[in-house]
């Protein structure tokens, strides 16, 4: 059966969902440019591979099509699943200060209203290379944002004696992993400080991604701490990793 990777990828919401709001500017003449710039931001988030970018401009068309597919004419035909629309967890808001020639991009958490990431860059919307700068900006934000995220190390895929050689990670392109991404492996230890129990990420080794299976899973080769990782798996302890270089 023919399946589209894109479809299966979309069906699994392991990615962070984001909506890029229409860009604002203090200069109305930048309307066309702001539309273009917004498209560039959307494109950059999509290309980064770790985000589900939702489209709200097309909502009406999506709804029309979904309604149409509920009709009798599609009874035995081919339809998409209803009620699977993805809600945006974050909103990317951009503002262009034309006088200062500065563009500010903020990521706002929909549930709390807090700004989780922000970046700004001096650029001219009328310059030929402004799209390149926008892309770099999105990638900077995305890398910063994702680098803090912890990824579960599922299990060992290959052991050599009492040392782990390769592992399975519960994170793939959806978590920003690429072939070559350097990861730090750690365990979570609880430390008592003034009667309060706090989490400490204790590093035990290093790994390098050597295969990205899909949006959800990747394989990594252990570069250091092979024996310690093996011991922790044997003791059924939870292992995590985080990006140190992407």
């Amino acid at each position: 059966m023919l399946l589209f990777a894109a479809q299966s990828l979309l069906a699994q919401n392991s990615k962070t969902s984001i909506w890029v709001a229409p860009l604002e500017s203090d200069n109305p003449s930048t309307l066309t440019f702001s539309k273009e710039a917004r498209s560039e931001i959307v494109e950059s988030f999509v290309k980064f591979g770790s985000f589900s970018v939702v489209d709200r401009e097309a909502t009406q068309l999506v709804q029309q099509e979904l309604e149409l597919q509920k009709s009798e004419a599609f009874m035995d035909g081919k339809v998409v699943e209803q009620g699977k629309a993805v809600g945006a967890e974050f909103i990317a808001k951009g503002y262009y200060h034309s006088k200062e020639g500065k563009f500010v991009l903020k990521i706002v958490d929909v549930s709390t209203g807090n700004t989780v990431e922000t970046d700004e860059y001096k650029m001219d919307f009328f310059a030929a290379n402004y799209r390149k700068h926008l892309r770099k900006m999105v990638y900077r934000i995305a890398n910063r944002w994702l680098s803090g995220a912890k990824i579960t190390v599922m299990r060992s895929l290959e052991d050599k004696g009492e040392s782990t050689q390769r592992v399975l990670l519960a994170g793939g392109s959806g978590k920003g992993l690429k072939v070559g991404t350097m990861l730090e492996v750690f365990i979570i230890e609880l430390e008592e400080i003034d009667g309060e129990s706090l989490e400490r990420f204790a590093a035990i080794g290093k790994m390098k991604v050597d295969r990205v299976e899909n949006a959800n899973f990747a394989n990594a080769k252990v570069r250091s701490g092979e024996k310690e990782i093996f011991r922790h798996f044997a003791a059924n302890k939870k292992l995590y990793c985080r990006i140190v270089q992407n």
Partner: protein
């Protein structure tokens, strides 16, 4: 015997009438062998005279009906009265009453609907400058020219799938000298335009809607070879005797998640031979006589079709994703014609790229629905109800900016012009001091300008006669118009959106330009033509790039259906879903992937585990054969364990 045969024929004709003038075939959806194409009212852009639009529509329909003078393998009916007929039916007329109305012919259920969009129509005076060699003068020939931009789309009624989308230009001219002044000249130009439109319509849908038949038995056999076979529905599907039909053997049918995949192999060719009898439907076997005989004896279904397999828009398409065609936003407020043509060229490319996506129509969906309602009310068996294809994706396009401009470029030429001879002056009077030397007087006279030594012919010891001195000329440098150089630029925002989730699969902003050059011909249409050419080039480039991006972003997976050959190492060759329309190429390497589920913190996720590698060795219509390069043992084990194993382009 004859009496029985007549009775059989009568019975057949009776059955035919009952089922609505056609015979049901082996099509998975029960389509007739001779499909019916309903032509809808043309969609006419504002400002085009109704009479002209009507003439264009009629010409195009006539073209569709006439396949190079032959009988086409489909029937064309006019749906002009469709709305009226549906309204009448809604007023409660019984089927019996409807049969007596003059609309009956128009109400035959159509499997396909065709709509012509008349996007533009222009009529004006054009001119050609012709240099008359004999008379040595430039003749300016003025004539009338009528041109139109048209779009023809063919949509499958049952599924709403777009089978053909064609945007084209047509023109007609009066070609006589000074034939531009009168109304008759205009009418003649329009007539010529219609003639060209009719020619374009002729055969345009032939390969898209051709029907099929099955071989029922061998009529003439010789040493295990089928020399002639009998078809169940032959006479109406082959337009010409010379046109052969491909014979496909359905080796096996696989059902996977409710989807049917026929493992089909082309086994031969047949055509109407000299001994063809309409009552027998006996066809000559041109190729594969032995194989065809073997398959008939083995009871294999043999399907004959004039086009490729699968027949029509079915088979694997049910499992494919589809994309809806919709009008795009025009923020740039570009002329309606520009938007229409850009949109149409994109749609045309989409319909011609069936490798990844089915294209469904939502622009004329209301008309498709009306046709279905009409078929339901007349209990027509033409279309299977309720099998519409829902769209998985649609393209969200916004035309942000559009500009076109042209400049007249000049060139500098140097012309030579003979200088008027200088008036001869009277010789100066001879004085005593002058010495006159007569040429050829035998005296040792010395040439004032002796020839160079190498120019002297040794045999004659003489130099060739000196060329007469060239006539004095004057060089004139002129700057004259050379060509029109035009440039069209556009900025578009494009995103592919998932209908199910509302997510953007890919987004891109395109900023492109197209160029056009037309030689200066003192013609007032030169400038327009150069801009038109630039725009067309731009539209083609944009459309091509968008399609390239769509293909890049949608990577399909194909299921391993069966193991064909095994060895001690495991599976050697396997059959996978996806054939001619899947984007496979011979020798292509694909990854073998097992889909397993993993539980992460209580949630289940799919994991694509690569278990090997394969090479495509044979591409069949709906399936392909692959040779396993590595992972043979594991593949066999996984398939035995009913694992979900797919292949994908690496």
């Amino acid at each position: 015997m004859t009496r029985i045969f007549i009775l059989l024929l009568l019975a057949l004709s009776f059955t035919t009438k009952l089922t609505g003038q056609f015979v049901q075939g082996d099509d998975p959806l029960g389509r007739p062998y001779r499909p019916i194409v309903g032509v809808l009212n043309a969609d006419v852009a504002p400002g085009i005279p109704a009479k002209v639009a009507e003439q264009i529509s009629i010409s195009f329909t006539n073209g569709l009906k006439n396949l190079g003078g032959a009988f086409p393998p489909y029937e064309v009916v006019n749906k002009d009265q469709l709305s009226k007929a549906v309204d009448m039916m809604k007023r409660g007329l019984s089927a019996q009453e409807l049969r007596t109305t003059k609309f009956w012919d128009d109400m035959v259920g159509a499997q396909y609907l065709l709509r012509l969009d008349i996007n533009s129509f222009e009529i004006g005076v054009d001119e050609d400058s012709i240099y008359d060699e004999k008379k040595k003068f430039v003749r300016v020939d003025r004539f009338r020219v009528a041109s139109a931009n048209l779009t023809a789309r063919l949509v499958d009624v049952a599924t709403s799938k777009v089978l053909m989308f064609n945007n084209f230009d047509a023109s007609g001219t009066t070609r006589g000298f000074e034939e531009y002044k009168t109304q008759t000249d205009s009418a003649r130009a329009v007539m010529q335009l219609n003639k060209q439109i009719r020619a374009y319509g002729n055969g345009m849908i032939h390969n898209v809607v051709a029907g099929a038949a099955t071989i029922t038995s061998i009529y003439k056999e010789n040493k295990g070879k089928a020399e002639e076979v009998i078809l169940n529905n032959a006479p109406i599907i082959v337009p010409n005797r010379e046109d052969g039909l491909h014979v496909y053997a359905v080796l096996k049918t696989y059902t996977s998640n409710g989807q049917i995949f026929r493992d089909v192999e082309k086994v031969g060719e047949i055509n109407k031979g000299k001994n063809f009898q309409i009552s027998l439907r006996n066809f000559e076997v041109r190729k594969g006589e032995k194989k065809i005989a073997e398959h008939i004896i083995a009871g294999t279904t043999l399907i004959c079709t004039s086009g490729g397999f699968p027949i029509g828009p079915f088979a694997p398409s049910e499992a494919r994703s589809s994309l809806a065609l919709q009008a795009f936003k025009n923020t740039a407020a570009a002329p309606a014609k520009v938007q229409r043509i850009l949109q149409d060229i994109l749609s045309e490319n989409a319909a011609r790229n069936p490798l990844l996506l089915d294209i469904v129509d939502r622009e004329i969906y209301d008309l498709i629905q009306k046709e279905r309602e009409m078929q339901q009310q007349t209990r027509s068996d033409a279309t299977q109800a309720g099998i519409s294809f829902g769209s998985n994706f649609f393209l969200n396009i916004d035309l942000l900016d559009f500009r076109k401009a042209s400049t007249l470029k000049y060139k500098t030429i140097t012309e030579t012009k003979p200088v008027a001879p200088v008036a001869k002056t009277a010789p100066a009077p001879v004085t005593k001091s002058d010495k006159i030397v007569e040429p050829g007087s035998g005296k040792n006279t010395k040439l004032q300008n002796p020839p160079a030594k190498d120019k002297i012919n040794p045999s004659t010891n003489s130099a060739p006669a000196a060329a007469p001195a060239p006539a004095p000329v004057e060089k004139i440098t002129k700057t004259i118009p050379d060509k029109y150089e035009a440039k069209a630029t556009a900025k578009l925002n494009v995103s592919l959106v998932s209908v199910q989730t509302g997510e953007v699969v890919f987004a891109n902003a395109y900023s492109l330009s197209g160029e056009g050059t037309i030689a200066y011909n003192k013609d007032k249409f030169d400038r327009v033509r150069s801009e038109e050419m630039a725009f067309r080039n731009l539209a083609t480039t944009v459309s091509g790039l968008i399609w390239k991006d769509i293909q890049k972003n949608l990577t399909p997976k194909f299921q391993v259906l069966a193991v064909i050959e095994t060895s001690k190492n495991g599976a050697e060759t396997v059959l996978v879903s996806g054939g001619l329309r899947s984007g496979f190429s011979d020798g292509m390497t694909v990854e073998l992937v097992e889909i397993v589920q993993e539980q992460v913190e209580g949630q289940k996720f799919d994991r694509d585990v690569v278990i090997g590698e394969m090479k495509i060795t044979e591409i069949r219509p709906e399936t392909s054969v692959c040779k396993v390069k590595n992972g043979s043992k594991e593949l066999l084990m996984k398939l035995d364990g009913k694992a979900r194993v797919y292949c994908r382009k690496g």
